[in-house]
Amino acid sequence: MKAPLLRLDGLTKRFPGVVANEDVSLDVVRGQIHALLGENGAGKSTLVKMIYGIMRPDAGEMRFEGKPYAPANPAEARARGIGIVFQHFSLFDAMTVTDNIALGLPVTQCGPDLSYRIGKLSTSYGLTIDPARIVGTLSVGERQRVEIIRCLLQVPRLLIMDEPTSVLTPLEVDMLFATLRRLSFEGCAVLYISHKLEEISALCGSATILRGGRVIATCDPRRETARSLAEMMIGTTLAPTSPLVAQEGPVCLAVNQLSLPSDMPFGVDLDDVAFDVRRGEILGLAGVAGNGQSELMDALTGERMAAVAEAITLDDTAIGHLGPVERRKLGMAFVPEERLGHAAVPDLSLTDNTLLAAAAGDGLIWRGWVRKRKARHFAERIVATFDVRTTGPQQSARALSGGNLQKFIVGREILLDPAVLIVAQPTWGVDAGATAAIHQALLDLAAKGCAIVVISQDLDELFALATRIAVIAQGRLSQPAPTASLTIEAIGQAMGGGTTAAPVKREPVDA
């Protein structure tokens, strides 16, 4: 038995209306890879922020290397030997790798030899990176390397990894695990946060499971099954979704030679994308974030129009030049990735939020005038059908939890009875219960003859839903193949296009 490197004792943190962490205690041993396992919203991120000095606990104590530890800010945490790689990277797009790393180091370590030290460290750990590159032009995997290098330069005794694999290709995951094992071997402890059970069993020597902000269990994940871990994490057993029986409907939505330059800084251009979807089919588009998914989504919704109208056809009608309203009128529906601010207006009520999608149909608008009562009934119907937990349709979208809002948004689109539904990251950051409900709703919709496109980073999700899968990498789409004929490895290979960076289209002016 080794003395714990980090000991948390009774940590509690409350926010208005929620207890994020209650009486959380755990020990991390030197050189150990310790998993912190929990669902979205279980309180993992809050706990990490307290350890790293971004938030302060309302109650409880921490000890690091046997000494009291109450960091007032992240600099203090770093000085004590704690490093962190955030889930949403704390990087600055418009700056170079060196600048980004310098910002995370004490001034004394930012001498002129910094670039050299970055190069040396990155070679020795196999984390290849060019220190002079602008971070905005890097792929997600490369950005994670920048964060890891930033931590390692300070020789941490504890490295916190917050959901590190959710944005990586399978190959990149393997490389990351190799790095982490080597760090562990060298004596650095790792606090590994995830909700992915397989990787925890493969990597971690110990696990603490959080649910609803409390510690549910501490265990050795190598001696547990994925199922037992899942049950501890979720707290109930979930009914498995019924798989989709593939139907051979006619082609409904077709995309041909769609090329579209990105309008965002550091965006990815779509390059000759082509696919078609049949009625009753779910087509899965896999890929690491930032490989053209948002651009493709914009092109499919009509938020950005294709250069050639024929690039997108719906039942043989060219729709590439139509805007979102016209496309909705033809029977399309959309669920974009970002819930708050894109798929829903945070400060408007659920009733008002129905109008975003229903503007083109269902009689919510009459000659330009809003029919408030109809809209409210529609919102109530969504809430009832999809079991959205809310105080009522007058509640603002912001006040709903992620899972509930996502159910509301997916429900809004499904109740419009679309012929084609395009969904991006349908369950990103959504709890398991809502995930299961959303998956089932999509399968049911497809069974009724709707053509569905699911864009997702989560391969498990695509394998559970899709009849065929294609991979998007650097703005190019692979040939869709039947899911049954595919393996995770094969898809990982195709996603690997993303391990090398996307070609830089535009450098900042006079950088």
Binding site: P16, H342, S396
Partner: protein
């Protein structure tokens, strides 16, 4: 330690309460200001806020001052809700007065019942045309509408100067830089005989009512709100940003132009270089004071109008400097913006987190499940 804690949803109650909080704070600060200037604060407050309301002429003057403020602010507020920052209403006001007034001068001395509607139309079109410039430059060239519309206000005021010095100068005016007095059929009918309260007040009320209806019930009002709150959601829903921007500019420009015409054909009765007195800027305060809400703007316009009239009275009675009222209005906006924090945040009194350092012995080695 007083801390701010975010609310889960904006507080409905606070949205309505904060304007009153701001007014109360401004009154308190105003008392301090007047005391510092060596005037009796109670008397100053009475002169500014109560006395004008006690006489018919005072109330009529209030209508005269509040009319342009309400007209302009109603239009501006619609734009502000969409995130379209037209702050050049002063210029649109000036151009509206110019174009509307020019119609009267062009047909002088002819007149008739057809003249005023024609002038009003010209005023609205003038204001719209001036507002169309920033709208075009923003939608076509992405040029910041705040700076463009503001620069155009300076240009409009200079333009008025140029024209009353030249083209529109009164031929019998001994070279004074002002136009001739409008013919009587070019003057707005007076509502209350013996006062200056004119029919423009009705225009303001109609504008408030229609805008209220559109914002609350019409899809275009909804589109404006969505664009302001979440531009990406507006794109997702297929609302045309370009059209909304144009609509906001044309509406606010048109109403400002109408306000300008009402001023020229109302209390002033001619075109003079001093016609733009800052209503276009003060209306921004009115818009925020009214929570960008037409009915709120009605109340806010009356309150700010009162400070103008009361301020004039106080200037004479207390020899208070004219600029004191401008400061007063500025403070009101500051306090309003400051108290807005209460809508999204809740102030809570919480002791500082206690230090977790302990001087106990080194802890016992803990047991873990790790091998």
């Amino acid at each position: 330690m007083l801390r701010l804690e975010p609310r889960r949803a904006p507080s409905e109650a606070m949205i309505y309460a904060t304007p009153f909080v701001a007014v109360a704070l401004t009154l308190a600060a105003g008392c301090v200001l007047f005391a510092l200037l060596g005037r009796d604060p109670i008397q100053a407050m009475y002169l500014i806020f109560i006395k004008p309301l006690t006489t018919l002429s005072g109330r009529a003057e209030l209508a005269v001052k509040a009319t342009p403020l309400i007209l302009i602010a109603t239009g501006l507020a619609v734009g502000f809700r969409a995130g379209v920052w037209n702050i050049g209403a002063e210029g649109q006001f000036t151009v509206g007065a110019l174009t509307g007034g020019s119609v009267a001068l062009a047909v002088y001395p002819a007149g008739g019942p057809w003249l005023l509607p024609l002038m009003a139309l010209a005023g609205v079109i003038g204001g719209m045309a001036w507002a169309a410039i920033p709208a075009f430059l923003r939608t076509r060239f992405n040029a910041n509408e705040i700076l463009v519309s503001l620069m155009l206000s300076y240009v409009a005021v200079l333009l008025l100067g140029v024209l009353v010095h030249g083209l529109l100068r009164d031929p019998q005016g001994f070279n004074f830089p002002e136009s001739r007095l409008f013919q009587s059929s070019a003057l707005l009918p007076v509502l209350i005989p013996g006062t200056r309260a004119h029919i423009g007040a009705i225009f303001a009320l109609v504008a408030v009512a229609l805008t209220q209806l559109f914002m609350a019930r019409h899809i275009s009002g909804y589109q404006i709100k969505v664009l302001g709150l979440a531009p990406k959601a507006a794109r997702f829903a297929g609302f045309c940003e370009r059209r909304i921007i144009w609509g906001c500019f044309l509406l606010s420009g048109g109403l400002a132009g109408l306000a300008g015409l009402c001023e020229a054909a109302g209390p002033v009765g001619q075109l003079v270089p001093a016609l733009p007195v800052g209503y276009g800027f003060t209306a921004i305060i009115v818009a925020f004071l009214g929570r960008l809400h037409p009915l709120g703007i009605l109340a806010g316009g009356l309150l700010i109008g009162l400070t103008y009239i009361g301020g004039e009275a106080a200037q004479i009675a207390l020899r208070l400097p004219a600029a004191a009222i401008a400061i007063f209005q500025g403070m009101l906006l500051f306090f309003l913006l400051a108290s807005d924090i209460l809508v999204r945040f809740r102030p809570v009194w919480r002791p500082r987190p206690r230090p977790t350092a302990s001087s106990g012995p080194e802890p016992m080695p803990a047991t873990t499940l790790a091998p």
